[in-house]
Symmetry: D3
Subunit: 277 residues, 6 copies
């Protein structure tokens, strides 16, 4: 619901940025009466994500646009598949094209990339999480695309989740003091996650009553020990330098969550083109 | 000048997105009086870009922040180099950290990535160009980072440059008609670029008086022929499927510009961490 | 930090609303050179809250305003006490006066009202909570004022806390199903609170793994039974029709939290006047 | 007309404040397909006010919402009366519920409270006025609710009415000087009201040509004398410490207007609940 | 005060409109280090108005700009006079120049134009008024410039003054009914002006208790009769087709106010140039 | 497309400025149920421009407004011609009237004024251009109205066209250096225009490779020499002190463009009235 409004604002600013005072090429050449049909086509294998955003861009430019054959978010499509067809005023299709694709290519890119990690850990019980390493202004879309790819969302920001890091611990004078201070202030509806750099800190976090423990940049070996030490009393999250090459190994240590910044900060755009007929 | 205001708006919305109603961890644990120093450190070899943006984020959160040892944009730094030191209220440093890094890592990423292409064509006379395939809302930062990496900017949007594509040509009924219509309407301060898919279209564009011709997805062989056919009468821009593997070969055909979407749509974030003391 | 920006926006819109195209009385009569000193005085016993907001209003109108003798938030002051002195341009003091007082009187009103409830339950272990029944646009100030009065904050909105109500349960087909669905989707950093209308529902919520249980409109008798039934396994929140007359009795049942809508939806403004010399 | 736009902006910010990045409980549990009907029910005797605002909140969240049985603003309803029924997407009803009620409860509260004062002075000829002591951001709704309750509006802000107070008089060096300065500057479409603290000032204001005189914090005895002194030449407004206990007595002095800050700054919310079926 | 904020918003949007993504000429050619001094010079005889706005534009672009020799608003200056000198960063002076002049030239134009009318009626007792026929978005500046030229302001908008026109009268079924309805609803701080097209309507307006009467498009002869008929009981405003050629004659009929749309809707810009050294 | 959004924002702010908290006259007198028809009538010979803007204002106030008999932009209409009829809610027509006319009168004024210049140069081959001397906030409407009158647009702002002026040349140390720096930085889709004050500078600009040369404030005699000197190699633009009296003479020198600030900075509003039935 509310995100619909946020989306509208975002699309408007993206169009202002790209179209500005007008698409001078199109408005000079076309009469404004031409109609046309454009088809978005996957040029490689992708997980579809962001179809609603793609449509909203065209609707923002001209609310009479019509759509057909739109793939649903989450579907895996092969190279060459048509993702959607938009028909209506040709000039407006041309004007909206780039912005619509910029959103769609990023969102499909994230979902597709996330799916690879999700597949890599299949069967292990570990869940793939995103982080706050998103592109400024696009967090709600980036995080949505992660869930489309099969990942799960970590907290949305600093306001809806507690994560006590080393600097907090140092400032408080220890984990238990930091935990105590947090408990006194935050809403009783929030859990408290504590970052641990080694097994000693895992033990201390456990003892101090952390609800979740993040294993920060630990070796696979130490993660395995942490899992056995904690023994299911609280969930564990692995974090730091996770790649497609090592994610399975990490998952097999028995951690509950694996958070991966690359899902949103280093994602290759999906290759999608718009062909107008 | 004006971009300073645009930057301010962007930073504000990035902080709203991340901090929302407050950094509940930090504000619960810290007293608000602690001070500290944080150092941004490159964890791989990078071209620095976005240092002013990085600083503005901290200043937005607390205008009393102090900086020292800031690298200049465009500098190549080695792994382990300190990029900047920020000192001031510790709680506010922790609150601003992620947003500041999200900007800096993307901008350094783009500059570093661009530089690889620029190096690859060194000595050929070809210039590396960006495209409109930027992240919605960040175009002015993305395009700035490209120039820091040694690339050049194509038009900023649909409003400040003319590019006649196949759909425009089809709608107008030929290249010369499209060109004629555009000339009648646009400001006399703008050039007209025409997209050509093959040598026949290059010839027609040339005959019709195009100021610039884009060679769209042509083979290297055809590009070479186009260069010789045009023979310096107008500049040529190569576009489509450019990679680090083939960019040199393309440059050596003698084209004037090579535009590359990946510079901004599929860029890996630079690896940079913030260490608080 | 970020709330400073939100506050700025709020103050601006409050001044636009009140001052509009100009304070025509003041700007017609005063020359614009007069200076003056104004003193905010408590006209009844109050808990001070919102002093920073009060000051920001004057600073927004003229950043050269000076303050002295400002009471700290949380202080109990007697009738007749001076809360703050503002000195500077007289015309601007007169223009800002009403908006500054409108904020201060509401915030002190909330803190003073909250304190009465906090005092009423002193020694019982129960904490007084606010609700989402705040005035549109002022939630962050309303909730802040509650903490100044000694109360605690419940979730800020629908986005940072989970509360499963009867309609959710009905739609899901039972408490355990509702809980299961929520757990699958929300961030692992959030707890799940479930509303129960009677002891049967308390038992079911407990069995289904609720992290917190809200006793909704239960009799004091039933609350006592619920406390003994739950026996400390999860925290309990009493809610519904709480008044100064019955709050102590509720607290003595042993519940952990008591949430009270009146703290923010039916609060009498504190009586404060601004005397200019 | 224009206020429709202002209302839209206000509702949007109220929903942003409450819903933020999403109603995580509802969106996790409901499928998004459920439909439902909710009924707003008065839990005490109230004057209805704000029905359009209530509906707009639901329509903002989902423009397909349907309404039936809506009470008209100004109607007196008994405890247990249904005020309105909203039907549509169940999840969206649940998401919008709190914000819609927060507006409605405040507006009905103001109208109901105002009506008590209006009833108290019935037959005396005195009109009940509001003040500028409204909640920041809600003035147009607060003032509207006062008229629904039978009260009248004083000026909307500092820009559309002149009220010369003691500080203005002191700065100008007397009432007649202050009046003269104001007349020279303001539009000829505005009247000038002057505040008087005692009978001497009433006489001076009258002599200086005030269009309206405010009797500020005078005793009932003095108000009576002022009425007889002025003898209908200009309207008189009583102001200061008006309560339900003394308002009739004040009205019977023969003053034309009685302005009451409590109507908007200390109003108890009307008790209204939303029952979903 | 508040208008300072409105001005800031206006300047920002004027700069966005003109500078957009950047002053590409200046930023390409200048190094960004050059400093310079620019002088605004009157190229004809003008009344200065808008000096603060002129300065604010430069300060918005660079807050370190320095000013000297600024003429005060209201001063009459001869052709060739220096109005102000701005010194600072040369590139930023060049970027801000056009927007600063666009404001200044319009405001001086209005003040200069208004002054001609004010001079034309000197000694008659009639005051020159503006109207609501201002350029969208600039009303507060347009109206300010009128006062600088010696004119007076009519109401600012539809919200702060009552003017009953023929359509209102027709809808109400007569002047007295219209007046009665208005009195019942509006704040007691507002006067009621009624438009009259002929002497019959003047009589009716007077009889119905209008506070001010507008003589709409009457002949000079009829205006004279209206003045004698009304005989000072209420002020009279002449309106419609006023020019420099006939304004004196109208003033000499004895009307109190003459309102002139041309002051703001057809004003020639003052000729002012900025010379950079 | 995008301009539709910009227009919406502009209309909204124009209505806020004029209507503010409400049209108190209309809302007090009318019941809100009356309907009516209003006709816009030209009171002198004009070129119609801005009909869509006129309609949008009414639609913004009430989207159910109906229109008939609307003249098309560009049409020349005689005195007394009906330009458009709007029918719908009478109160809303009255509320919207002034803002709708303020836009329409300015836009028709510009188109009508421009047409006079276009007629004056008919047959010479010279095109009439606008400048950046537009009213802040209205540039896109002002420039549109110029094209309706038969003129052409110069660059929209500093961002979409290059114009090297004397200060740029001085800072760079000569025309050729300035040109070289610009070419290195700007997009290859832009031309470079250079300002020349005399024939010597024209020669230098030509030699340095300017794409267009502006003849700034030259005598007609010198313009003629410049035309013969340049001999068609680049287009020439005449600028400075152009009036209806001398524009034909300038055009006959053979220049390609004549730019005229007065088209937008000193335009008399078209005389149009709205008659309600």
């Amino acid at each position: 619901m509310f995100q619909k409004h946020a989306l509208h604002t975002l699309i408007q600013s993206a169009l202002e940025e790209d179209v500005g005072t007008g698409d001078i090429t199109t408005s000079s050449i076309l009469t404004g009466k031409e109609t046309g049909v454009a088809r978005a086509v996957a040029k490689s294998e992708i997980i579809v994500a962001g179809m609603d955003v793609f449509k909203e861009v065209f609707l923002f430019v001209d609310k009479r646009m019509q759509f057909s054959g739109c793939s649903e978010d989450g579907r895996l499509v092969m190279r060459g598949t048509s993702l959607a067809e938009v028909s209506g005023n040709l000039g407006k299709i041309l004007t909206a094209e780039r912005v619509a694709l910029n959103f769609l290519q990023r969102m499909c890119g994230i979902a597709t990339f996330t799916r690879q990690y999700v597949e890599a850990v299949r069967g292990t019980g570990a869940k793939i999480l995103d982080t706050r390493k998103t592109v400024p202004g696009l967090r709600f879309l980036d995080k949505y695309a992660v869930t489309v790819g099969g990942g799960h969302n970590h907290r949305f920001g600093l306001y809806d989740g507690v994560l006590i890091k080393d600097n907090h611990i140092a400032a408080a004078g220890g984990i238990s003091r930091a935990l105590e201070r947090v408990r006194r202030r935050i809403s009783h509806t929030l859990k408290v996650e504590v970052e641990a750099k080694n097994l000693k800190e895992v033990r201390e976090a456990l003892r101090s009553g952390a609800d979740v423990i993040m294993l920060d940049n630990m070796s696979v070996e130490d993660m395995r020990k942490a899992v056995s030490l904690v023994n299911g009393r609280v969930p564990l999250e692995a974090s730091g330098n996770v790649t497609l090459a090592n994610v399975r190994q990490i998952a097999e240590t028995g951690v509950d969550f694996i958070s991966i910044g690359m899902l949103t900060h280093s994602v290759p755009a999906a290759d999608i083109s718009l062909k107008v007929r």
